[in-house]
Amino acid sequence: MKKEYLQIDKVVGPLIQISDVDDVFYGEVVDIVEISTGNIKKGKVIKIEEKNVIIQVFQNTADLAAGNSIIKFTGQAFNLPMSLDLQGRIFNGIGEPIDNGSDIFSLVEANINGRPINPMSREYPRNFIQTGISSIDTLATLIRGQKLPIFSGNGLPHNELAAQIVRQARLGDNVDEEFGVVFAAIGVKHDDEKFFRKSFDEANVMDRVVMFVNYADDPIAERITTPRCALTAAEYLAFEKHMHILVVMTDITSYCEALREISSAREEVPSRKGYPGYMYSDLASLYERAGMLKDQVGSITFLPILTMPNDDITHPIPDLTGYITEGQIVLGRDLFQRSIYPPVAILPSLSRLMKDGVGEGFTRGDHAEVANQLFASYSKVQEVRDLSQIIGEEDLSSTDKKYMAFGRAFEAKFLNQGFDESRNIIQSLDLGWKLLALLPLTELDRLSPENIDKYFPKEA
């Protein structure tokens, strides 16, 4: 029988310290029972020093004080029951139902921290997912099993973009492969969560969605567990029930801020901008849970969303994320201000996995070249625009004027597309060719003669 403790020595932010404790283990879950009401809060042992134990509490600690609560060690790690019944349900950040539905009962339990996938057991992801969005499909192709974050900024339409992807993306190869969505909201506004719920409804996928929600006014320590609960559910559905799972997670920035707050409560030595030195490994313990396994059906495709503080891509949150994920989709404020939707800034965007997932047999033989040429030409557009700022557009050389025209058309016709508009990859590639034709052939040095012969639009 585990002992119970009454004495709380210290409360610092989300942490409490108790002393004289025996026989607890690192990572053990505790129940903190308020004596007067019987309310139970959950916590977890995060440091043991002799008989002193520090517990991170997942709910509000403001009303905790010595004597008003009993601390019970449960002898359990942080496990969640796993079942297909998770689908269609809504949970809080520690996996408790908040939709008035019943508890999940299952003999299968999983530790929310997960364990690293053995690289020998992985299968390298190679299957193209068509999102119907030209900029993504053509230039930063999403691959099944990929972790591809959206780097956004405050007020930019990242939620709309994510919702559009959920609605339009086809994850499975054929009808008998099941797909599902796991959605984790970390420190989000109630409005944002409603927006997603509505869009899942409209896409008719609500009964395939598992939601874990931690609102902006919920306790910050729960933000640490929200993504872990979600990924644990995703792993169960993907690797044990062999479904193709899309995990949408927003906002990683709130997650990292929670990490920083707890780290500072623990008085740890900070690294850049006050974030803890282990933030890279911590984020990796989330992102690396995406992927596919050898010789079995099922995958986790992971679309985390983060808002870059001050739109700064070198801020530690996007920076460390970009070092772990398999590329990034970057949204640009200037495109947004010019009413281009989705405002995908293609130059800093990248899909590291597209190399093996596009081309003959996946999309079309010219895909890699078209993408390369669009990148190269659009990058030249930026230089020409800078120059035209100085000398004026009229004084540009005739080639440079064509670049200006190409740049405008590319943004208006290729990047820009409707929230409800889905273009297949062939349409997107053909559109790419049509726009490249605005440039002199001599400028198109990334295209091979064979593909030019085959695809270059013939003059009418």
Binding site: V24, F25, Y26, G27, K47, I48, E49, E50, K51, N111, N113, G114, R115, P116, I117, N118, P119, M120, S121, R122, E123, Y124, F239, E268, V269, P270, S271, R272, G277, Y278, Y280, S281, A284, E288, R289, T314, H315, P316, D319, G322, Y323, I324, E326, Q328, P348, L350, R352, L353, K355, N372, F375, S379, L387, I391, D395, L396, S397, D400, T442, D445
Partner: protein, 595 residues
């Protein structure tokens, strides 16, 4: 295989803080001793001893550990088992084979699997090269095993024993644990020699002496081989923000370098990147051996989600394995992707030890650790009298892509080649995004004889001339950004045109193109020579008053841009034809301007 635990006194866990734990009752433990921790027998290493309290870094997940559980000494430092069976395999940061771990647990890596190492059941056909009465010095060779189709494992006397052979087994099949040779040393003590011996990872293996490095590591990558060459036995760093091409460059080097052995360490990076290596390398044929490149490769993987203390160790595990093959007389090239993750692991452990941080939270000993690591590279004579070398190429991942952070700055102090990856080149999809203005190689001078003897008399001067042209182009570009290209005089516009060919046609090299991914040195040289030819002939024209717009023949230019694809690696006659075309076009053109 279970860990051999000593029958000494055991420690008692008294504190747990992530991967760092403390124990009491540890007076009999030694600094850097390997231990097992708790009921699950997690592997750990003593990193601080103060009185009877020891601090241990644990190489596995510590969730579930309790205070009061035991810490058991093993009596030896963290060591590797060095023997045949490492090539073609992938290990975790402390040399546990991931394939065997997979047999224990098919998907995820569990904790408490103990200390696995290279296969001790497999029978290897050994050929013995010594006989009773022979004197065997430390580090000499007593037999051979064909470890893979291309690499012969030369069975080494461990660096710390020597003596006279008193017994040898006949040639035949043995495991790494079988005794093959018995020797008697000067003190009359007997030593049993097996295929494998143990060596502590943190102690560099000894060699006879260091020598100068005079031969380049040929990589088949134009920007490296011609512009910023790496010497065999040298050191190089590849710094760059995320997505600039560190991993691709490292993979290219692992695939195509003309080293005998490749040790590739995925240190704190993506799981899929290691999977990719496992899937792709066996299919790629080494142009030199005609066999799969996997036959010469050892992989170490501590992916970013694996325990952080093992990340710290993975670098040492890798370099110790590299030294082992070096000591057989091989040229080893080692890639570490990324050394920044190793430095961050140091920082994390240091933080948990509550050490006084220096810059950006890194411990004050960061520079000395980086220096020690790169100093394990070098070209040496082995104890057995052979030539061996280790080339170390480390990727660096600067926070925010800013090279003025501690890991990049300190690495720069201790390496000789700096291949600076550039975000704006990567954004424009100029790959490899190695910035030719910021990068350098400190080996140009000592390698110039080699290039003159083996490639062409003027190879280095050609390189210098073209690099100067690129510097000039950079200055001109600054002007263009102010006034536009049209106002520049013709000779300067010609420089811009040639520079564009160098950038797109030469420096850009497509790793995904089956011909361009690896290019032999002769073609690398011939291509650059052809560009020089075009440049020089154009300048003749400029003297006659031919404008750049006429010099720039669209057809010739597009052939230059595409020659990397159109001219086969093994038939360079197309380059001569291209020069003929230049002559034909220019001769006619110049006639019009003469007199």
């Amino acid at each position: 295989m279970a860990v051999k635990e000593e029958n000494k006194e055991k420690g008692i866990i008294s504190a747990i803080n992530g991967p760092v734990i403390k124990g009491k009752n540890m007076t009999t433990f030694k600094m850097r001793e390997m231990v097992t921790v708790g009921e699950q027998r997690l592997i750990g290493e003593v990193i601080v001893l103060e009185g009877d309290v020891g601090t241990i870094q644990v190489y596995e997940e510590t969730e579930g550990l309790k205070t009061g559980e035991e810490i058991t000494p093993t009596g030896r430092p963290l060591s590797l088992k060095l023997g045949p069976g490492m090539l073609k395999n992938m290990f975790d940061g402390i040399q546990r084979p991931l394939e065997k771990i997979q047999e224990i647990s098919p998907i995820f890596i569990p904790e408490g699997i103990g200390l696995l190492s290279i296969d001790d059941k497999k029978l290897w056909p050994a050929v013995m090269t010594v006989k009773p009465g022979d004197l065997l010095l430390a580090g000499s060779i007593f037999g051979t095993v064909e470890e893979t189709q291309v690499i012969q494992n030369r069975l080494l006397v461990p660096p710390n024993v020597s003596g006279t052979v008193i017994d040898v087994v006949p040639d035949g099949s043995y495991t790494i644990e079988d005794v093959l040779v018995t020797i008697r040393d000067a003190k009359n003590e007997l030593h049993e020699l097996k295929m494998a011996h143990e060596w502590p990872v943190r102690t560099p293996r000894p060699n006879a002496y260091r020598r100068e490095t005079l031969v380049p590591l040929i990589t088949g990558q134009r920007v490296i081989d011609i512009f910023f060459p790496i010497a065999k036995g040298g050191t190089a760093a590849i710094p760059g923000g995320f997505g600039t091409g560190k991993t691709m460059t490292q993979h290219q080097l692992a695939k195509w370098s003309d080293a005998d052995i490749i040790v590739y360490i995925g240190c704190g990076e993506r799981g899929n990147e290691m999977t990719e290596v496992i899937e792709d390398f066996p299919k790629l044929i080494d142009p030199r051996s005609g066999k799969s490149i996997m036959e010469r490769t050892v992989l170490i993987a501590n992916t970013s989600n694996m325990p952080v203390a093992a990340r710290e160790a993975s670098i040492y595990t890798g370099v110790t394995i590299a030294e082992y093959y070096r000591d057989m007389g091989y040229a080893v090239a080692m890639m570490a992707d990324s050394t920044s993750r190793w430095a961050e692991a140091l920082r994390e452990i240091s933080g948990r030890l509550e050490e006084m941080p220096a810059e950006e939270g890194y411990p004050a000993y960061l520079p000395s650790r980086i220096a020690e690591f790169y100093e394990r590279a070098g070209s040496i004579e082995t104890l057995g009298g052979d030539d061996g070398s280790i080339t170390i190429i480390g990727a660096v991942s600067p926070a925010g892509g800013d090279f003025s952070e501690p890991v990049t700055e300190n690495t720069k102090r201790f390496v000789n080649v700096f291949l600076a990856l550039d975000k704006s080149l990567a954004y424009a999809r100029h790959y490899p995004a190695i910035n030719w203005l910021e990068s350098y190689s400190g080996y140009i001078k000592i390698l110039s004889d080699w290039y003159e003897d083996n490639v062409a008399e003027d190879c280095i001067s050609l390189r210098n001339k073209m690099l100067e042209l690129m510097y000039e182009e950079n200055k001109l570009q600054e002007m263009v950004m102010l006034v536009g290209e049209d106002v520049l005089p013709d000779d300067q516009r010609w420089v811009l045109e040639i520079a564009k060919i160098i950038k797109v046609g030469y420096l850009q090299q497509n790793a995904y193109n089956k011909d361009d991914t690896y290019v032999p040195l002769e073609k690398q040289y011939a291509m650059l020579k052809a560009i020089e030819y075009l440049y020089d002939r154009g300048r003749e024209g400029l003297k006659l008053g031919v404008p750049t717009s006429r010099l720039k023949n669209i057809d010739i230019f597009s052939q230059f841009i595409k020659m990397k694809y159109t001219i086969p690696n093994d038939d360079l006659s197309g380059i001569d034809k291209l020069k003929d075309e230049i002559d034909q076009y220019f001769d006619v053109l110049f006639k019009k301007y003469e007199n």
